[in-house]
Structures are given as C-alpha cells and as structure tokens.
C-alpha cells in the first residue's frame, strides 16, 4: 500500500468546510482530531478541489486562502487555480 500523505488544518469554523471537502473528494482520507487541529492522512495522494470547497463554504474561495489555516503537510505539492495536490511520487 502507498505511504500516507497528510495535511493538517486548524480545527476552527473557517477550516471546517475545507475538511469536509477533502473528505468528500478523497475516499481514502481519514481525519484524526487532536486538541486544536485535524490531521488528514490519505494513501499516496490527496487533492483539495476549489469547487468542492466553494460549494461547502457557499462563497468564492482562492486555494491560497488555505495558508491561513494550514498547519502542516507531508508529500510533494502541486498547486494551480483549481487544485492543490499532495502526493508521493513512488
């Protein structure tokens, strides 16, 4: 099985729709809560889709806004206007 990539976000109301969007778009993703934060692990590849986040938030969302509530990540990043992808290349 592929190694997990991860993304950790602050556990606040602004990040909640992002977390929901990630869990919806990545069937293998598992969210682990600890005080103040949520760490989402996913085998091999994880995608944050702008459209899904906008649907959950009910407003426009620039993917770079994720920096405000991002805590940490593990994996190679690739970002454009529509998707932020975290993946291992192996």
């Amino acid at each position: 099985m592929a190694d997990n990539v991860f993304l950790a976000l602050q556990n606040n109301s602004e990040a909640q729709p992002i977390i929901e969007a990630i869990l919806e778009d990545n069937p293998g993703a598992v969210a682990n809560e600890s005080p103040g934060m949520v760490k989402i692990n996913c085998p091999g590849r994880l995608v944050v889709r702008r459209e899904t986040v906008e649907e959950k938030m009910g407003r426009k969302f620039d993917l770079q806004e994720i920096h405000i509530n991002l805590i940490s990540l593990g994996g190679n990043i690739d970002e454009d206007d529509d998707e932020l992808v975290i993946a291992w290349n192996t």
Binding site: D3, P35, Q64, H67, N69, L70, L73, N76, D81, W88
Partner: protein, 512 residues
Amino acid sequence: MAKAKRLGLKERYSLMTRGLDWETSYQPMDEVFPYDQYEGIKIIDWDKWEDPFRLTMESYWKYQSEKERKLYAILDAFQQNNGHLNISDARYMNAVKLWLQGITPLEYAAHRGFAHAGRAFRGAGARVACQMQSIDELRHAQTQLHAFSHYNKFFNGMHGFAHMRDRAWYLSIPKSFFEDAMSAGPFEFVTSISFAFEYVLTNLLFMPFVSGAAYNGDMATTTFGFSAQSDESRHMTLGLEVVKFMLEQHEDNVPIVQAWLDKWFWRGYRLLSLVGTMMDYMLPKKVMSWKEAWEIYWEENGIALFRDLSRYGIRLPKYHEVATKEKTRVTHELWATLYQYGNALGLHTWVPEDEELDWMSEKYGDLFDTMYRPRLQFLREREEAGERYFNNRLPMVCQVCQIPVFFTEPDDPEQICVRIVEWADTKHHCCSDGCADIFNREPEKYVQSLIPPQQIYRGEAGGARDIFEYAEWLHLKKGIDSGEYHGSPDHQNWTAWQSGQPTPKTDSDEAA
C-alpha cells in the same frame, strides 16, 4: 475588444519571479553571487527551481496580514481576560519559559540566516522563497515575544531571555545548532534548516506540542504556534524543493546532499530531545508521548519522505535506527539531567505526580517501570525529606550538540555513551556515534566551539567560581527563577490564584 482573461496561477508566479529577474552586466554574475558554488553543488539551470505553492510577494503580504490580524485579535482577548489563569497548572509555564529562552531566539537566527542565504543564490525563485521565509521568521520571533509578554507579568524566569541566550549552558544547545547552520554555505544552510529541521523534524515541535498547549489551556501559545506553523508548511515545501532541485541538477550533488542529510538529521534529532522532554514532563495534561510522536512523524511520515527520495539515490539518514531505539529513553534521561542541574536553569523542575507517572508507565512500559520510575520516586522521597537533590557541578557536554554527555549506549540503557574524538593532539568528547561522525567530518569547525562548562571554569562567566555565582551572572535568582517548582513563588502564586486569593507577598517582591 475582448476582455483579457485573468492569468492563471502558474503564469502569474512565473512573471512575478523570473520575469522580474535579470542577469547583471556591469559585474560578472560570479562576483555578484560569490557563495553559491564553493560547496560543490552544481546547478545547470536555475529556472528549474519551482515554488510548488506558487506564492507571489503580492499574495504573500495579503495572507500574512490576514494571519496577523487574526493572531493579534486573539492575543488581545487573551490578555484582557486574564488568560494566564486558564492554563492547566503553573508547572506548564516552564515549557513556555524553555520555548522563550531556547526557541524564540532560533526564530530570530533563522530570520538572519535566510536573509543571508537568499542574498547568496543567483536563482530568482530561490531568492524569493528565502526572502519570504526570512520575513516569516522575524514575524515568529515577534509574535512569540508579544504572546509571552503577558505571562512575564505573572511568572518568574522570563525576564532575561536575550541576556541568557549567549550565556546559559543549556541554551548553547539550540544556539550552537543554528550557528553551525549559519556558518555553513547557503545550500547546506537551506538543507539543514528547511529540509532536515523543518520538513523532517519540526512537525514534532509544532504539531503535538502546540496541540498540547491547546489542551493545557494556553491560548497564546496555541495561537501563535499554529499561526507560525502555517508559514512552516511553506518552509517545509521549500526544503523538499531545494533538496529535489539539487538532486535533479547534477548527479555529483547526491553524495554532498546525503552527507548533509546524515549530519542534520542527527543534529536536529538531538535538539528535539528538549521538545520531547517538554511534551512528556512539562505538559501537566498529556496529549501524546515523545515515543508516539516519533512513531507518527518519523517512523511513518519521515520514512515515507525518504522512500520518495530514494529514486534520486538518497538513503535513510545515518543512525536513524539509533534514534528509533532511543525513543523510550531520551526524554527520561534528559529530564533527570535538567532536574539535577536545576540551580543553573531559568525554569523550575520537579518530580511528576503519580498519575503522570502512571501515564508514562502506560506509554513507555517495562523500561520506564524498571529504570526511570524508581529513580523519580527516589528523588521525590529525598525532596519530601527536605533533601532535594541538586548536582551543583557543571556537566561535561558533547563537543558537537553541546548536550551534557548523559545519553546511554544504543543497546544498553545502563551504560552512558561517550565517544572520544581526537584532532591535532587534543581529545574532545561526544555523546554518540552520530555526533562523533559529525566532528570527524569537519574537525576544524567543531574544535572552535565554545563549550559553556569549560568557559565557565576558565572564569569567562563573569569570574563565577561556582554554579551559584554563575546563575547570578545569568541574572537568575536562586529558588525564584531556578530550582525546585514545589514551594517556589510561581507555585505559591498559582495556589493563591486558584483559590481566588491575591498574589502572596514573596521574597522576590522584597528583593525588588
């Protein structure tokens, strides 16, 4: 006329970095950028450098100012609502003191280091990334000082962090770590700080420890901690990018990068033993043990990262298996050391409560029950008998990591590990094979280390003749800023505040 389509993120980033760069013509590029070749790293095409977040300076300011607004709104609320009364227990504050004394000055050092490294790179992408990080690190130092300034009004030991930074024996551990990196070349600096330290290891600091701060009611640390960590994700990405960039540019770079990864993994791991000890011993309410954090953030996430790099011919860092073997021991060994040298620390130490010892038994198992728990119970008995143990001599410290030589042999937790290295007919002591290897690779560098206990005994610490005069030279008041927690003014104040009493009058008031 059709309205021009808004440029995509990739085009915007490209225009705002590469598009604004130029080749110098009055002076040769090699003279404008004299430091980016001597380390032996070969760069064929600087344009292959990519910031995967594609953050331009314009967006950088936008999001950073948003983060600052959020952070300072919370700090205002924290101060106005006497946030210091909401922490789990005043013992927790000692983790904050260690952070202020040991970690905040590193943020400032990183600010200086990235400004210097950024200037040294001739590639515009690398320069922009280093510039952002340099500004981030200054922000981290400032926000931490602002957040902690409220605590400084109520707790002892926080008054002289800047004075102590260059004088305290235990603060030479983080200080020398950064100065080792800053006195290397720009590629090694970025590899050491952005990759080995930030990508591989700081998750252990900012994730479980800051989450622990949240659990212990420290709103100030949680807020700046996660705010800083949001910048850290960008730094980590820069770290991974710089390593991949070097490895992809030329095969001759691979052994150089591997040697740096070996060195900085071990340096960073040794430094983080302080953080592990904060997690296990200084958080009255526990979130995660050092052992568990090591398993998640190194054994799972860290090893996955190295597996990803194996396609470049990179292997796991040397002695990673030793670090994993030590995961059940380091924090207990380090706490015992801090406890006994408590008269020369700007924070308090103590023996944990019974329920905390039970938690450690559950997390650490047999070794804790047979070796460390009996020792802690013995120390508690002595304290209760009015004979609180202090070791009032100074320790022998490792020539490389500057941690006292107290860690044990990888395969024998009852035997202190000491490695003697020689250079130019002089013997030096190291705490481990990892540190001995680092010394032997660059002996000319490490023989120059100013080792605090040696300097103190040579009279270089204001002429102090013993540990008490030395503590005075650090501006530490005995028993108030240093020593045992139980019975200290911090403890007395906290007990009074918890029962709604005003701050009791203490020796520290009279001294003032």
